[in-house]
């Protein structure tokens, strides 16, 4: 038969060859990269040990730290992950999402063992979006994407969220992150299996109130004021964020680090003076006591502010600056 007349038969054969090629290729990858066959089922549990990120693992060349994951619709429906940035939270979120995607595509997975309850939708928001080029603000894009998840996820979905609310002011961000987590864990129409990474430690309080919420944290060890990331995800909350140590590693000038420490210390004192944690878990209704940081200014402060405002820096020479009545202001402040 002429080739054109036989086109449908040729194409059917071509597609069967293509599928065999894919299956043999996936087997090849599984052998070369030491992947395991996942146990796929229709139940709601996602449980795996020693999960790796397929791409990062190879780039890390043997030093990749594998991690476990446990998500289900009962006591591990939403897991809040805290811990230092740079600690591997984002990679962890991605590798868990890829684990499901690969298994449901028919591939073996980079894990020692994996039980995968089939998910119907997969949502991942990890890392910055590039929509900024289209003239939308980062925060707007972040919120639109979050809206898609809250509206689209079902109880059979998997959601991994990294740093919701990072694009806005601290209290706005914390409030939004809290509300989003609560919606996914109890108030919303669906309770998708969720990994929720955040640098707002306050969120760990949610686990106290919600039995289906769990805490996990990225392990780090302090050593002589330095920090060592262990890239290990462990159960429970982390007590601090190590942000200042990370900043030091990143090369911020010494005076900035020292100053930051002082401020942090002051803030922590203040928090304690407000009665300590949990500050906004909703269990201790004392909202007025929480405004310490931004309390109304005293009349003296207001007066001093006004004095400073009157100085026109653009028309002040260095010599003028030295002659400013700083001494009298100081006296006024100490009055």
């Amino acid at each position: 038969m002429s080739p054109r007349g036989a086109a449908p038969r040729v194409l059917d054969t071509a597609r069967a060859l293509a599928a065999l090629d894919v299956l043999a290729g996936l087997a090849e990858t599984a052998s070369v990269s030491n992947y395991a066959k996942p146990h796929v089922s229709d139940d709601d549990t996602l449980a795996a040990t020693d999960v790796r990120h397929p791409v990062v693992e190879r780039l890390a060349g043997g030093s990749f730290v594998a991690n476990d994951v446990q998500l289900d619709s009962r006591d591990h429906q939403l897991v809040i992950i805290t811990g230092p940035n740079m600690g591997g939270k984002s990679t962890y979120l991605r590798q868990v999402a890829l684990l499901c995607l690969m298994a449901q595509a028919g591939s073996f997975v980079p894990a020692r063992e994996a039980k995968i309850g089939i998910v119907d939708r997969l949502f991942a928001r990890v890392g910055a979006s590039d929509n900024i080029a289209r003239g939308q603000s980062t925060f707007m894009v972040e919120m639109q994407e979050t809206a898609q998840i809250l509206n689209g996820a079902t109880s059979r979905s998997l959601v991994v969220l990294d740093e919701i609310g990072r694009g806005t002011a601290t209290f706005d961000g914390l409030s939004l992150a809290w509300a989003v987590a609560e919606y996914l864990a109890k108030d919303g129409p669906a309770r998708p299996k969720t990994l929720f990474a955040t640098h707002y430690h306050e969120l760990t309080d949610l686990a106290d109130a919600q039995p289906n919420v769990n805490n996990a944290h990225v392990a780090a060890r302090e050593w002589k004021d330095d920090i060592v990331f262990l890239h290990k995800i462990l159960p429970g909350r982390s007590d601090r964020s190590y942000g200042i140590q990370v900043a030091r590693l990143a090369g911020l000038p010494g005076p900035v680090i020292t100053r930051a420490r002082t401020i942090l210390h002051a803030l922590e004192q203040d928090e304690l003076s407000r009665g300590g944690r949990p500050a906004i878990s909703g269990q201790r209704p004392a909202p007025t006591a929480q405004l310490g940081l931004f309390q109304a200014e005293s009349p003296v402060e207001e007066r001093l502010r006004e004095r400073l405002r009157e100085v026109d820096i653009n028309r002040t020479t260095p010599l003028d600056a030295l002659q400013l009545p700083v001494v009298s202001w100081k006296a006024e402040a100490e009055d």
């Binding site: 194409l11 071509a14 597609r15 065999l20 090629d21 995607l101 028919g106 939708r121 991942a124 979006s129």
Partner: protein, 535 residues
């Protein structure tokens, strides 16, 4: 120029490549656009009726494909207007017709496509109604370079979101809509991704017309077999898409004989942002490197590469199907020896889908047939290697392998083993395929034989040992005599040309043979091309 205006009127949205001799010429606005886009020199042709010079530019026809591909990649459409009769036989102006329209979604030439990615053309049909939230969308998706053809239906706000996600994930090269439709307003991704939008007449989407087109294309009496009998909006989109392709490709699309209905519940829903953040098929910088696909893709064939990409973009949700794949991968992983042999064998397979599509679209060359033949020749060996496999998916795929002995037989007996790349170079049809062709070849060969013998005869007759009979394109056959022997030239030699070393002559007998040979050669090529067109 009247032919030109006719073509231009018919293909208003395309640049018309107007064949004139060895060139494709463009005129007026088309010439201005093409000159800028291709960096060509703009010239002008005499005058039009009002006395103004006509802007014009051209490209050599043998390099036409390259220029067309460059324009199409910039988002233009090109209508190729060829001479459809032999200029020598034409009375008056040679007849010309548009033989094909090439656009971003219909560029099926492998040389210009990424072998690892599909090239989709998408048609969207939207029902009109008072309530926009009740709008239903029918979508048809066709990769002309592989014949893959899918349809889907979406409804309501959730459906619209799913449709928008689908477009962002699949990134079709071109979108076909009814002229005057405002789908662009509901699907901002079309503009954001810079997709080429092609308007076709609204009645192409008319459900009854579309159904008929589809029945005709799929060669069936009912769409039940494809699950489409009640899927009116999907059928409307699919019919309009097929009609548009038949109109622009002027081919019957023999490689599009089935269509698949995609249900949204068939696959794991992954929105475009998730795909991007997980770097599934491309990394954050837009390249393949660093993506999941790049990491795990160890396929051998281009079709396999495209299929793995499709699997990752649309993972499964049905337990049995996932298990089937995993069991198949497991068995391939365990049977390492057979796997290595299968993979080695697959190295002999070229891009079968795209080869077949070129053949169906009549844009293939004779070498593509030989490549097709060599590629399908591996099938029996693959079958044999998979003989002992027990995984149900491997067994069923093995069952789908057709050894295609008849097709191989046809190519082997029809086409020579090492044919030229282009059909117009001729000489690729084997002896014994066609009696008419064999007869003409006999004439040509015996004529050439006679001419060859003539060299000996003339040497004997004139006593000039260095006398040569040769051929060139300008004079045809001639006899060359060196300077020192010119005194011995007989009187029946007619001088044609003086060259550095001597002179060239013809004789009436030589011209007579020449006519036979050249006439036969021309008819041979015509016959070969005709056989090739009918394959």
């Amino acid at each position: 120029m009247r032919q030109y205006f006719d073509a231009k009127r018919q293909y208003r949205h395309a640049l018309v490549f107007f064949r004139m001799g060895d060139f494709y010429e463009m005129f007026y606005e088309d010439a201005l656009v093409a000159a800028r886009a291709l960096d060509l020199t703009l010239t002008s042709r005499s005058k039009d009726a009002s006395g103004a010079p006509v802007p014009m530019c051209g490209v050599p026809y043998h390099a036409g494909d390259t220029y067309i591909a460059r324009l199409v990649r910039k988002g233009y459409r090109v209508a190729i207007c060829e001479q459809v009769e032999d200029p020598k036989k034409a009375k008056g102006v040679v007849k010309r017709e548009v033989v094909r329209v090439v656009s971003p979604g219909t560029l099926a030439d492998t040389g210009y496509l990424d072998a690892r990615e599909p090239s989709f053309l998408l048609a969207i049909y939207a029902t009109s109604g008072a309530d926009p939230r009740a709008t239903a969308y029918g979508v048809a998706l066709l990769d002309l370079s592989t014949g893959e053809f899918d349809v889907a239906e979406y409804a309501g706000p959730d459906g619209l979101q799913a449709l928008r996600d689908e477009i962002a994930v699949l990134r079709p090269r071109e979108v076909i809509v009814a002229s005057g439709s405002d789908i662009g307003a509901s699907v901002p991704e079309i503009a954001q991704l810079g997709l080429t939008v092609t308007d076709v007449e609204g009645w192409h989407f008319d459900i009854e017309t579309a159904r008929q087109t589809l029945l005709d294309q799929l060669r069936v009496a009912s769409l039940d077999g494809f699950g489409l009998e009640r899927r009116q909006v999907a059928v409307a989109a699919a019919g309009a898409l097929v009609r548009h392709l038949r109109d622009t490709q002027k081919a019957e699309l023999a490689h599009v004989r089935s269509v698949r209905l995609k249900e949204s519940t068939d696959a794991l829903v992954i929105d475009p942002t998730t795909l991007k953040h997980l770097e599934v098929v491309e990394s954050t910088d837009g390249g393949r490197q660093g993506s999941l696909l790049h990491e795990i893709d160890r396929t051998i064939t281009p079709m396999g590469g495209r299929m793995l990409r499709a699997w990752l973009l649309r993972p499964l949700v049905v337990l049995e199907r996932i298990r089937d794949r995993l069991d198949a991968v497991e068995e391939c992983a365990i049977r390492a020896t057979e796997r290595a042999k299968v993979r080695e064998t697959l190295k002999g397979v070229q891009d079968l889908e795209r080869l077949m599509s070129r053949i169906a679209l009549a844009t293939a060359g004779p070498r593509d047939l030989v490549a097709l033949c060599a590629s399908i020749a591996v099938v029996p060996r693959v079958s044999l290697l998979l003989d002992g496999f027990e995984a149900p998916l491997v067994r069923s795929l093995r069952g789908e392998l057709d050894e295609l002995a008849d097709v191989r037989g046809w190519i082997e007996t029809t086409v020579t083993a090492e044919p030229p790349a282009l059909a117009r170079d001729g000489g690729f049809v084997r002896d014994g395929v066609d009696t008419e062709l064999d007869g003409m070849r006999h004439i040509s060969r015996s004529g050439k034989q006679l001419i060859a013998e003539m060299e000996e005869q003339e040497r004997a007759r004139t006593g000039i040992a260095s006398l040569k009979v040769r051929f060139n394109r300008v004079f045809g056959y001639y006899i060359e005599v060196s300077k020192s022997n010119l005194h011995a030239v007989p009187p029946d030699y007619h001088r044609k040309q003086t060259v550095a070393g001597g002179e060239r002559f013809v004789t009436p007998a030589l011209k007579e043979y020449e006519e036979k040979v050249l006439g036969a050669d021309e008819r041979i090529l015509e016959r070969e091309l005709a056989i090739f067109e009918d394959l």
